[in-house]
Structure formats: structure tokens, C-alpha cells
Subunit: 113 residues, 2 copies
DNA sequence: ACTAGTATATAGTATTGCTAAGTAGTTTGT
DNA sequence: ACAAACTACTTAGCAATACTATATACTAGT
């Protein structure tokens, strides 16, 4: 499908938070997980800008570990603030998506008349 | 709740398209409908920039009519391109929201383990 | 040596919703 | 007559975010 770019704004960071919350992971792996999930257009650069932002906002703890397959990896884990952020994200998502779906179904109902 | 700003990016235009598709309407009314729907932070300026964009991209037909309560209203109706755009929007929304919810529920399942 | 895969980083761009302010017509209260 | 409130449209400028493109570097296979 076409460009989801704008629709991903505001939710991609939440997705990254969610993925990190499942357990220690690093940028490259997060990218792959997002692509597996279906967001095939997500590239490394995008994820790195997000992880950088998470660092800057102190939502994650960082640990650098060597890799057998390439350069050292930067592992992230959510700290307490990060977990709160994630919770807020899901609340927002719940609200927004329910409203959008309300708008959608309301019209489908009207269309049947 | 806090700022939904980023999360609204990419969906607000779709909402406006949807509202217009229900029947001829104008900017001020669209704003009110969005606010009634729950997007209380949406203000006129935001909607007008969207309707301007719709005009520019030729997704709407325009008809100016007098109002008994104020200045003349600019009524919008979706043209064929607009309807296609709306359809694409809902397809995108269906895809993205299902993926996000997949990510959400997958984790909830894991949390139960 | 070369290529591919793994891994991090960053400068620059486009899009988009919001802020803030202005212009104008109508109605209501004083 | 005047002000305030509501209706209605418009625009300049801002902030946030995801993407593009590119650079760097380590490892393994050919």
C-alpha cells in the first residue's frame, strides 16, 4: 500500500516503546520487528531517531554489548518513566482509535439507511 | 488527556473527508462536529488548513451560500477523487490500527505468561 | 579484494496539526 | 448607538515527527 508516513506519526514511537518493554533490545532488531509486524517501510534511520529521542528524554536505560555478527549493539530497557510514557501512549491510542472507529461505523450505519 | 497532536497527524484529514462525505458541510460546522466527537482541542484554524488542502488537491467541490447567522458559508462536497481518497484512508487506517492492536494484544498475552 | 549482512549515527526535508491573530456578518443586551 | 458574543473564513509562523540519503564500521563468505 501507499505511504503510511503521516499516519505513523505519533504511533511509531509508541510501538518502539512497546517493543522495548517486552525485553532488552537494540535499534537494528527493533527495525526488523517493526518490518515483520507489517510496517515494511520502516528503515534503520527512522528507528534511530526515535531511540535517540528516547535517550534524550530519559525513558530508557542503555547497555552496550559486543555482537558476534557485527559492531557492538546498544541495548535498551525501559525505565520507570518509560513505562509511564508507554501507558500514556496506550491510553491515547485507545481514545483516538475508538473515536475514529466511532466515526467510521456511524457512517456505515447511515449508509445502510 | 494530554496532547494528541502527533497522533492526530494523518488521521484528522481523513476524519474531515469522512464528515464531508456524509453530506454538504462547511468549515465551522466540521470543527464543531469534530469537537462533539471528542477531539475537543481541534480549532477552526486547523480545520481550515485542511479544507484549503482539500481544495488545492481537488478533492472537493465548493459552493458558497449565505447564512442567516453570519458571513457566507463555504459548503464542501466530495468529488470522485475525494471519495477514492477517503476509501484509501480507511484502508490505511484498517491496516495500521489492526497492526497496532496486534502489537498491543500480543504483549498482553505475553504479560499473562 | 569484494560483497552482503549486521549495527549505529546524523544532516536535511516534507508533511501536518496547532497557535495566534485578523477580518466580517448577525444577534442580543444595555 | 454601542459592545459583546456567536458565527464564519483566512493566513503566517511554529513544532514535532517520520523519511531520505549518506557515512562509518565490524564480521563472514566467496
Amino acid at each position: 500500500m501507499e505511504n503510511f508516513r503521516e499516519m505513523m506519526k505519533g504511533v511509531l514511537e509508541g510501538c518502539v516503546l512497546e517493543i522495548i518493554s517486552r525485553g532488552e533490545t537494540y535499534g537494528y532488531e527493533i527495525t526488523q520487528q517493526l518490518r515483520e509486524l507489517g510496517f515494511t517501510d520502516v528503515v534503520e534511520g527512522t528507528v534511530y531517531t526515535i531511540t535517540m529521542r528516547l535517550e534524550k528524554n530519559n525513558l530508557v536505560d542503555i547497555e552496550k554489548k559486543p555482537s558476534t555478527k557485527g559492531p557492538p549493539r546498544k541495548f535498551y530497557t525501559l525505565n520507570e518513566v518509560g513505562h509511564e510514557h508507554l501507558k500514556t501512549f496506550w491510553n491515547k491510542w485507545e481514545f483516538v482509535s475508538s473515536k475514529i472507529n466511532e466515526l467510521k461505523t456511524k457512517t456505515e450505519k447511515e449508509k445502510r439507511i
